[in-house]
Amino acid sequence: MGIFHHLTRKPWLPEQSEIDNQVSGGAVALQTAKVGLRVFLFPISALFTLFLIAYLMRMSFSDWQTLHDPWLLWINTAVLVLSSLALQRSRMLVDGGEVTGMRTYFMLGGVFAFAFLGGQLAAWQQLADMGVYADTNPSHSFFYLFTALHGLHLLGGLVAWGRTVFKIKAGVDVEHLRLSVELCTIYWHYLLVVWVVMFGLLLAT
């Protein structure tokens, strides 16, 4: 473990000083924005993890009823996977410098994401038609809460996506675009994983 090894060094020793003097300040060889995104994923993960733990704890009480997951969720999941794939493709293309192809796939990714959100709303509607609301049972409360929260995070991502689209339209140079596309893609994959975990949990319980 690099970092822990680092912490055992004695910075006051002249031998150590010679080494330290040459060290550049960055801890990770990554663009700052990417480090920022990665760090940001930690509190978000903490947030979702705590919700999951709360879910599991609340489940153990006697009034819990199993949730009938709307079938639409399967389709939504597929759409979200497509969204991630499209972004991944556009990221690969921008790496190869193919701006036009990148543009198409990047747009497509966003469209799929919007489709996913629409699908989630439709799933809510399905539930509401069945007479299932947020206060019907804690399992349903959690369902609405999870989906809303995940959706909001995706919506936040879509804002960044929109700004990137704007930049593409404005013809910003490729180097700059590449960073934006990469950040969006990382975030999309992350939210896909979050969704799969949550969906899995909803199915399993």
Binding site: I3, H6, L7, T8, R9, K10, P11, W12, P14, S17, E18, D20, N21, Q22, V23, S24, G25, G26, A27, V28, T32, V35, G36, V39, F40, F42, P43, I44, A46, L47, L50, F51, A54, M57, R58, F61, S62, D63, W64, A134, D135, P138, S141, L145, L149
Partner: protein, 581 residues
């Protein structure tokens, strides 16, 4: 031995430049301006918290005297006071205030890495503060559920502010967390990525270490509060039953069913305990640097100090239920949490030893920062010791929810960090304004504040030991509470007011010295860290003038044998004057 040092090759970042007065001083993206905004707002709302504490003390000291304080008010006061002090004052001041000011300067960066986000962070924080204040003006007033906001009482009738106040409180907290997360990303990534060449992690001043680790704690702990806030809001507004059990509130059967109040407590304290360290770790870091500079000696056991900060930070996530020994959670949890809690005492004690050992064979200058650091040591040792009482599950049973607890946490996370705040202000004021604070006024302020605060909280332990409960509007004639407690309460109230008004001297000093203080120069204390090596004082936009400093040594080269001065700045290359290499 000389080392050939290649010329500076520090990648320059594109710096944001303010174009108008508005973007320079109001919607500024300069961390130093944001720091002042954060600090000013935190102190302002902190003064509200202080006034609330006077009102509470008036009621406790002279019950049945003040018609304008009834039980509803009292419970609202303790709640808002507690919340303000812990979150809106101390967290915001240490991280948003000192963090913003000191991190870029101390690591040798021109600014935070995401300045725009940093600016938004402040404005979101300001909104959170304003919403909190607004809750005083809604129907029913602010919530009176205690700063712990335990459901079910926090959202049911019978608790003050259970209609509008609690919702504003939850919204305000959620905003605070969002705003903090934006700032927190900055602090962490700046420390990780924006250090200047030569500034390895183990060369960072402990101030940066403290703020850095505290920020990480906050980024991971605040989500727990966020989750709790959201779920409680839904319980209140949509009638879900996350936390709400079946209950009959004031004769009325409510719609709720099956929820778990204890689940909220777990979430709250999973945040709440690390929160204590979110306040304490920056204080630990800062006080280490103050002691070293003003004792002209390297901090004793630097590596141990870093490890202790990291270990304490990590352990603080596995001790939360020591606040819940008598909450009705599974009793066997008591064994686990008492053990982890007492383990955390070991690295904490080590820090204390290293602080006092730093004084040993030092050259102690009894400046204001040093005085306040000593006051921190006294109050922190005292408060840490009573933590060993409350952490040890058996001892906590009779003491929990008594004045002993109130005395303990005020000493350890109220007074002790505040002493550091004062010390830090006396220490860095010359850098921020270019002028020294007046020493005589400082001495007066120190003695009244330190002795006063100690006098306020020391006796409260003992009436707590006697069994006097906390969060009581009045004690009536309770058989086991002797009259002497009432006398004591009156006395404590008088001291509180005295200490409170003595702060006027402090504020006057800050105001006056800004124009008329002695000109400080760049490095009045002879400190080694980079913020004292700036080209101008106060540091200009971009912090370091033309070229970023390069770092050649750790932050604690004080009184190095053979060196010309009793301090060697971090950016001084080895040479004849340093003579240590």
């Amino acid at each position: 031995m000389m080392v050939d040092v290649p010329v500076a090759e520090v990648a320059e970042v594109e710096l944001y430049h303010a174009k108008s007065y508005w973007t320079k001083y109001v919607f500024s993206q300069d961390a130093k301006v944001i720091a002042i905004q954060y600090g000013g707002t935190a102190v302002a709302i902190g003064l509200v918290g202080l006034v609330l504490s006077w009102l509470m003390r008036l009621q406790l000291g002279f019950p049945d005297t003040f018609a304008f304080i009834d039980a509803t008010d009292y419970y609202q006061f303790i709640t808002v006071h507690g919340m303000i002090m812990v979150i809106y004052l101390l967290t915001a001041l240490f991280l948003g205030g000192f963090g913003n000011y000191l991190i870029p300067l101390m690591v040798g960066a021109r600014d935070m890495v995401f300045p725009y986000l940093n600016m938004v962070s402040y404005w979101v924080y300001l909104c959170a503060v304003l919403i909190l204040v607004a809750s005083f003006f809604v129907e029913g007033g602010p919530t009176g559920a205690g700063w712990t906001l335990y459901p079910p009482q926090s959202i049911t009738e019978g608790t003050p502010g259970s209609e509008g106040g609690i919702i504003l409180m939850l919204v305000s907290l959620a905003l605070f967390i969002i705003g903090f997360t934006m700032g927190g990303l900055n602090y962490v990534v700046t420390v990780l990525q924006a250090r200047t060449r030569g500034m390895t992690l183990m060369r960072l001043p402990l101030t940066v270490w403290g703020i850095f680790v505290a920020t990480i704690l906050a980024l991971l702990a605040f989500p727990a509060l966020f989750v709790g806030c959201i779920m409680m809001t839904l319980d209140k507004l949509l009638g879900t039953s996350f936390f709400m059990p079946e209950m009959i509130s004031l004769g009325q059967q409510l719609e709720y069913d099956g929820g778990s109040p204890i689940l909220f407590q777990h979430l709250f304290w999973f945040f709440g305990h690390p929160e204590v360290y979110i306040v304490a770790l920056p204080a630990f870091g800062i006080v280490s640097d103050l002691l070293a500079v003003h004792a002209r000696k390297n901090i004793f056991g630097y590596r141990m100090m870093v490890w202790a900060i990291v270990i304490i930070g990590a352990l603080s996530f596995v001790v939360w239920a020591h606040h819940m020994y008598v909450s009705g959670m599974h009793p066997y949890f008591g064994f686990f949490f008492a053990t982890t809690t007492l383990i955390i005492a070991v690295p904490t004690a080590l820090k204390v030893y290293n602080w006092v050992l730093t004084l040993w064979h030092g050259d102690i200058h009894l400046t204001q920062p040093m005085l306040f650091s000593l006051a921190f040591l006294v109050t922190f040792i005292n408060g840490g010791i009573t933590g060993l009482f409350l952490g040890n599950v058996t001892v906590d049973v009779p003491l929990s929810d008594t004045m002993f607890v109130v005395a303990h946490f005020h000493m350890v996370m109220g007074i002790a960090p505040l002493m550091v705040v004062f010390g830090a202000i006396y220490h860095w004021y010359p850098k921020i304004t270019g002028r020294m604070l007046h020493e005589g006024m400082g001495k007066f302020h120190f003695w009244v504040t330190f002795l006063g605060a100690y006098t306020i909280f020391l006796p409260l332990h003992y009436i707590g030991l006697q069994g006097v409960p906390r969060r009581y509007f009045e004690f009536g004639d309770t058989a086991f509470i002797p009259d002497s407690v009432t006398t004591l309460n009156a006395f404590v109230t008088v001291v509180t007011l005295t200490v409170g008004f003595a702060q006027i001297v402090f504020f006057y000093n800050m105001w006056r010295s800004y124009k008329h203080g002695k000109v400080a120069g760049d490095n009045p204390w002879g400190a080694t860290t980079l913020e004292w090596q700036t080209a101008e004082t106060p540091p200009g936009h971009g912090n370091f003038g033309e070229e970023l400093p390069l770092v050649y040594r750790w932050a604690y080269d004080f009184s190095v044998p053979g060196a010309k001065n009793d301090f060697i700045p971090q950016n001084m290359p080895p040479g004849p004057d340093t003579n240590n290499h």
